[in-house]
């Protein structure tokens, strides 16, 4: 069944994902030494590091095995090792709860994948990728559609596409930060590897609606992810929601690639895949960096609630600088890497809209508008995250006493910050490399594909150029021009340090500052049709006339949890109650059940 041996795949796609895993694994490993020390006992640290290595190896195995059965096994090892890392803080009740949600969701995904693989096996008689690919061509269309949906939702659970995203905001924040960084940075990407490998390469894109469905799911993930991230005050939960958004952006590239493949536009399909894969590695790097930054903040202050932070830029200057680079990258600001992949995705949608007419044109333009809206909201989210955490006055005593994190943590973050800048400035070079991976990943294997004019200029189209190196060069020249010019004409600026303007009020404290909740309030009101914000103001009165203090409570409603999963879980418990009735406790009846099951299975095999 397993074939002669379990073949290892070392094609461009596997190599690309392998390199992405290593890019993040090494800095997080360096970081983990400083992070784990002091928090846990030595034996626990050892256990953590062993689990870490198993986790990394299983991820590498996932992207390199060439057999669907072996794939499921290593996929399961990856899920389990990450589960143990999520519940690493085993004394914390929240970790256990998060771990359980993660375990349930990931197994729903694995169950769907198992069904899909068994269906494929039934038709092909083998689990080997190459055999599967050749044999699946003759599969009837209806069955292909079913397998596609099973694979999409199976992998989608792991990737965290909306509405299967609910485990991310629980599991990612509870794991130790270097693990969250790996989970958000690369583990959820292995699901995208699965989508590319099994849907595009092995199954082959069969209908137009496959691509359209992926794009629509991607758009929903983008918007829902970023809106929830914007509402969040827990910095790691915020980052987890932002991962949902970025998975959406990557899937936008992959989905468009599927669409263009079916439409027969080969170059566009490769461009779309390039944009997706480039954003994938970019997201791995900057989200990894941001999670490590969040870990440093947690380590220094003991809280993840940004309402209790503030002013950290003075006590933790390095962490602040790294976090700023990560925030700039994720908000797609030039000339850092996130900007270029978002630009490439937009250009890809534009070129698609240029090629096609009618409904397809409008569809692609709408997608671009949603991507732009996501970009704007992501900028809002990360100005909030950075501004409230690092700027202004400390909002609590813990934030006041924060200390810069240890050297190994700074080295880990520094490497990733360097990657962010390098991936941005060297975009043309990296895009040339990634386009050859994309060429393979679309299964087209065209002879000549080039989206870079030379190692300095990105050119997704013969007339559209972007040179991040030239752009940053000019930015630096102009900045120098203004700084020196002003100094030359008007002399050195005389700066006086003074108090903040307080409108004649006697003293401004941290209580006068804007909060994260306040910052996101306009958005909460604008999206109230989706967020259902809840407000409660309670006046605590000293006497009838004098109000001593206010208690104010506001939170948003998570509609997927509230209206779908809650009913779903209630349904399961309800069914369980009825199932109890057939358990009479008599061994004869149980033997009867076994007989009946075998009979049903025989009938099943006979029919199908």
């Amino acid at each position: 069944m397993l074939g002669s041996a379990c073949p290892l795949l070392l094609d461009p796609l596997s190599l690309f994902f392998g390199i992405t895993i290593f890019t993040l694994a090494i800095p997080t490993f360096i970081y983990s030494f400083g992070y784990l020390r002091g928090h846990y006992s030595l034996s626990k640290i050892w256990m953590g590091q062993i689990l870490f290595v198993i986790f990394i190896l299983s991820m590498l195995a996932v992207v390199t095995v060439g057999n669907a059965f072996a794939f499921l096994i290593v996929w399961e090892i990856m899920s389990l090792s990450s589960y143990f890392l999520v519940v690493f803080d085993s004394t914390n009740k929240k970790s256990i709860e998060a771990g359980t949600i993660y375990l349930v969701m990931t197994h729903i995904g694995t169950a769907l994948l198992t069904i899909a693989f068994l269906l494929m096996y039934k038709h092909c008689g083998s689990f080997d990728f190459s055999v599967l690919h050749n044999a699946l061509i003759s599969l009837p269309e209806r069955q292909k559609d079913i397998i596609f949906l099973l694979l999409l939702f199976g992998f989608g659970t792991k990737a965290g596409i909306v509405p299967l995203h609910i485990w991310l905001p629980y599991a990612h924040p509870q794991a130790p930060s270097h693990i969250s960084s790996l989970m958000s940075g690369v583990m959820i990407k292995t699901a995208l590897y699965g989508i590319i490998r099994f849907i595009i390469l092995i199954l082959g894109v069969n209908s137009l609606w496959w691509g359209e469905l992926v794009i629509v799911l991607a758009c929903i993930s983008c918007l829902v992810g970023v809106i929830y991230a914007l509402m969040e005050q827990d910095i790691k939960t915020l980052l987890a929601y932002s991962s949902v958004e970025n998975i959406g952006i990557i899937l936008l590239g992959i989905g468009s690639s599927m669409l263009f493949l079916k439409l027969g536009a080969s170059t566009l399909a490769i461009l779309a895949m390039t944009a997706g894969l480039y954003h994938l590695i970019n997201h791995a790097v900057f989200k990894g960096l941001l999670f490590l930054g969040a870990g440093s903040i947690y380590n220094a202050t003991g809280t993840r609630n940004i309402e209790k932070l503030g002013g950290l830029i003075k006590s933790m200057p390095w962490t602040a600088a790294y976090f700023l680079i990560g925030s700039m990258a994720i908000s797609a600001l030039p000339p850092i890497n996130g900007f270029i992949s978002e630009w490439l995705t937009l250009i890809m949608l534009f070129l698609g809209a240029l090629t096609y007419t009618g409904g397809m044109k409008i569809f692609l333009c709408f997608t671009a508008a949603i991507l732009a809206l996501t970009g704007g909201l992501a900028a809002a989210c990360f100005t909030k995250a950075f501004g409230i955490t690092f700027l202004a006055q400390p909002r609590s005593a813990r934030a006041q006493d924060a200390k810069e994190s240890s050297l190994s943590m700074n080295i880990g973050m520094g490497i990733l910050a360097f990657f962010c800048i390098a991936l941005g400035l060297g975009a043309a070079y990296f895009i040339a490399l990634i386009s050859s991976v994309a060429n393979f990943a679309t299964g087209l294997n065209m002879a000549k594909i080039n989206f870079s004019l030379n190692p300095f200029v990105v050119a997704p189209h013969p007339h559209i150029f972007l040179s991040p190196l030239l752009l940053s060069g000019i930015l630096i020249i102009i900045a120098a021009f203004f700084t020196l010019g002003l100094r030359l004409f008007f002399g050195k600026a005389k700066v006086t340090i003074g108090p903040t303007w307080d409108c004649g009020y006697y003293k401004l404290t941290h209580r006068n500052e804007y909060t994260a909740t306040g910052f996101s309030k306009p958005f909460r009101l604008a999206f109230s049709f989706f967020l259902f914000p809840f407000h409660k103001v309670q006046k605590i009165k000293e006497s009838r006339y004098h109000i001593k203090s206010f208690a104010y409570e506001t939170h948003t409603t998570k509609i997927f949890l509230e209206y779908f999963y809650k009913n779903f879980i209630a349904g399961i418990f309800g069914t369980g109650k009825y199932m109890r009735n057939i358990q009479a406790g008599s061994i004869h009846i149980y033997l009867g059940y076994i007989c009946l099951t075998i009979l049903l299975l025989l009938v099943f095999i006979g029919w199908f």
Binding site: L333, A379, F482, V495
Partner: protein, 296 residues
């Protein structure tokens, strides 16, 4: 064939003229209100005054606060450098395309919003929050309008757009949408009001409240540059027919007049109504694309 020097000359001209436009708009507004108003050169005097004054920086502010004016002015100038209004040619073509202008402006805005939060004041945070709110809705609208324009021209390359754009239903609608975006981006009525410093209504000014001296001068200059940038883009797209420096001046003056008239004839909207205003611009750009898809 123009070379890089021509482009720097062009940027210098736009740079020098930028404050004048704000002066002209203020003058038109005042004259229509039967007031005399300040001279059209007043923005220059203001800038000179700011540049030669001392600065006061809040104790709570960090280096973000200090570098922000430079980042804002740099990103805006770079965006201006990419705009082919007087010359068309290849030298700076590799720098980026139309979409990059939007990204460059968001670079400046990102830092400005952080700088608003930096000095630990309520006004700054209020301004930052509101500016971000407006900006995140303006951005997709601008993107859609640019898409419509670029789809007509067949490329997002600014040189191509400048050379090949034609007037049809979709470019007209997209230009109107861009004009509404420009009103929001340059913080004019009905989205914001440059003239007021009333706590409850200001958006852009609230972020700059803690700035003084040279930094304030740079930020004001950046605002003038952003205005000429948007007017330049609209003149490029909406009236592509007449090329040359004299026509460019005419087009820009006409747009200034329209801007002044819009400001005079409308009242400032409250924050959540401003979203409707931007949504209107969004619908215009969607219609521009639908018109294009239908081949109208």
């Amino acid at each position: 064939m123009p070379n890089a020097l021509h482009f720097f000359f062009q940027v210098l001209v736009l740079f020098v003229c930028a404050p004048l436009l704000s002066g002209i708009i203020t003058k038109i507004k005042n004259n229509l209100r039967f007031r005399r108003g300040p001279s059209i050169f007043q923005p220059y005097f203001n800038l000179l005054k700011y540049f030669s004054k001392d600065e006061v920086v809040s104790v709570h502010a960090s280096w973000i606060f200090k570098i922000t004016p430079y980042i804002v002015i740099t990103s805006t100038t770079t965006a201006l450098l990419m705009l082919p209004v007087l010359f068309y040619g290849r030298p700076l073509i590799f720098m980026g395309d139309f979409l990059v202008i939007i990204f460059l402006l968001s670079l400046g805005r990102f830092f400005l919003i952080l700088a608003g939060l930096d000095p630990a004041t309520t006004f700054g945070g209020m301004g930052s929050s509101r500016e971000m709110f407006i900006a995140s809705f303006v951005e997709p609208v601008a993107m859609l309008a640019i898409f419509a324009i670029a789809l007509v021209a067949g490329s997002t390359n600014l040189q191509t757009i400048a050379q090949t754009s034609t007037i049809n239903t979709s470019t007209i609608m997209a230009s109107v949408a861009l004009f509404l975006v420009a009103l929001a981006e340059t913080s004019r009525i009905p989205v914001d009001n440059q003239e007021t410093h009333l706590e409850l209504t200001m958006i852009h000014e609230a972020m700059l409240l803690e700035y003084s001296g040279r930094s304030l001068g740079l930020l004001e200059l950046a605002a003038h540059l952003k205005q000429i940038l948007f007017l330049g883009i609209i003149s490029l797209v909406a009236f592509p027919a007449f090329v040359g420096i004299q026509f460019f001046i005419l087009k820009i003056l006409l747009l200034c007049l329209i801007m002044a008239l819009t400001e005079l004839s409308m009242a400032k909207m409250r924050l959540f109504r401003a979203v409707d205003f931007i949504a209107f611009a969004g619908i215009l750009s969607i219609m521009a694309i639908i018109a294009l898809a239908l081949g109208v």
